[in-house]
């Protein structure tokens, strides 16, 4: 069923009796060409692009919980491509371009709102660094705009530019950045993949891999054994847990990142603003709640909840630039588990096991990467060669000294 304005009107006049479930509920077949483990944004996007771009027919996505119940539903919904390094920027810019056409492509309203992202500058050195980053972005075909304090004040009059410790000295804006309704991304990809024949199997947890003579033959699940020509892991947050079943140790630690929503407010904040001196970033949802977050808690965790020192730190960051928020109350807070890699960049690669593939290590940048991650992973699965935009995202980059370390903090996953 194609969604359209006309359809809404027709359904409204006929009592909304014609709507169908967005995707089929299916039991797993005994064998597939491709089994994708993980029904999050990346897994569903991978299945969709495999079917659409490469004509693959026999694909299953296995999800241990429900579609959209993992990190794709727990993030702060920001899209941007403001990266510095060559290994990253073309990939994220491709992702942003895919976001721009996503709703038409999927025929699904993902409420994409490109009202810009602004990274604030608080010192001369930081302005130099952001100038360099902006130039790198422009060189890779992205947009970047170095804004003056006056321009920022005109656009965001509520910002405190005269904070005694961290005055705002300007900012790097990417006006094409913005936010997306994150659940709609999962649902949209699921529906589009399903319409191309992909089997989406929920409540199906992979409990092991069947590996013989160095080749992966299929997966053991709580719904029985499923044979597969190619098995693709796509479970960022739980990558180490899953890949340990194939005796792999990964360059990844799992960390918890907290996020917050305030009570609903009238529209005050267009786009996304990030504090450059502490760790705080904020946008406003369509319901009016301020959606914000900050730093990792900083210790290995699978608990999906964090501790109070980080809550305090994030709220202090908020007060430093948005003093008007002093009386706003928090409505909800939660934690998501990140695959924190050793250089802060992801991995899309083959593994040492034949026909077993890996996608993970997204740190806290996974959501914005969803379309490009699926696009490039599908390319790897279909052609067995890395996609041009993801060719640096290899396992062996640590051994070869080709880290993609945006922040330059080395193998300290908790600091990326």
């Amino acid at each position: 069923m194609r969604y359209s304005g006309l359809r809404v009107i027709k359904e409204a006049l006929t009592g909304h009796k014609g709507w169908k479930p967005a995707w089929r509920e299916v039991a797993p077949k005994r064998a597939y060409d491709y089994v994708i483990i993980g029904g999050g944004g990346h897994g569903l996007a991978t299945a969709y692009y495999l079917a659409r771009n490469y004509g693959a027919k026999n694909i299953a996505v296995l999800e241990k919980g429900w579609v959209g119940g993992g990190n794709v539903g727990r993030n702060t919904t920001i899209i941007r491509s403001n990266y510095l390094l060559d290994g990253n920027e073309p990939f994220y810019e491709h992702s942003l371009k895919l976001w721009e056409g996503l709703e038409q492509d999927l025929n699904y309203n993902a409420m994409i709102s490109q009202r810009g992202i602004l990274n604030l500058v608080h010192s001369d050195a930081q302005r130099d660094a952001f100038t360099r980053r902006g130039n790198a972005m422009i060189l890779n075909g992205a947009d970047a705009d170095l804004m003056t304090t006056e321009a920022i004040q005109t656009r965001y009059p509520f910002l405190n530019v005269n904070n005694a410790r961290f005055p705002i000295k300007g900012g790097l804006a990417q006006h094409r950045g913005g936010t997306v309704r994150h659940d709609a991304v999962a649902w949209g990809y699921a529906r589009a993949a399903d319409s191309l024949g992909v089997d989406i199997i929920q409540n199906c947890e992979v409990t092991g891999f069947r590996i013989e003579a160095g080749k992966c033959l299929g997966v053991e699940t709580n719904q029985g054994y499923i044979r597969a020509n190619k098995v693709a892991s796509c479970v960022a947050g739980s990558s180490s847990r899953l890949m340990s079943k194939a005796d792999m140790r990964l360059p990844i630690e799992s960390h918890v990142l907290q996020a917050f929503v305030s009570e609903g407010l009238k529209p005050i904040l267009p786009g996304v603003i990030t504090f450059g001196a502490g760790h705080f970033y904020c946008s406003q949802s369509d319901k009016g709640g301020l959606v914000f977050g900050g730093d990792l808690d900083g210790y290995n965790s699978y608990a999906q909840r964090g501790n109070l020192p980080v809550v305090e730190d994030v709220c202090e960051g908020a007060m430093a630039i948005f003093p008007m928020l002093g009386r706003v109350r928090l409505l909800r807070m939660w934690g998501g588990i990140m695959d924190m890699s050793m250089d802060g960049s992801p991995i899309i690669d083959r593994t040492h096991v034949e026909s077993l593939y890996f996608n993970g290590g997204w740190c806290y940048g996974g959501f914005k990467a969803t379309p490009a991650s699926g696009w490039c992973y599908a390319h790897l699965l279909a052609t067995d060669t890395p996609h041009e935009y993801a060719k640096e995202y290899r396992f062996d980059r640590f051994e070869k000294g080709r880290m993609i370390d945006e922040k330059g903090v080395g193998n300290n996953p908790q600091l990326h």
Partner: protein, 95 residues
Amino acid sequence: MIINHPILGPRDSAEFTYIGDAALIDRPDWQAEDALAQFVDYGYLRDNPAGKHKELWFHEQGDRSFLVVTRDTTTHEISGVELARDVARKRGRRK
């Protein structure tokens, strides 16, 4: 989280800096035949278990000792705290 420091008693975890897996105590022998492979492992690969995890915490805002904390990564419950020095000595290290 409260970390029960063996010398100083219960301390807020915010006083500490998290270092990572306690396996980092066992630095490979740089003269070994396969030293490169061992150091790639040591520097970049982690067990990253869901459950009991032995990890190094540095008491940076305190007595600057390194501790080996046994903590469940699924609940954040701490079940054991030792001085990293004691752990290393038990494994035969001199200092």
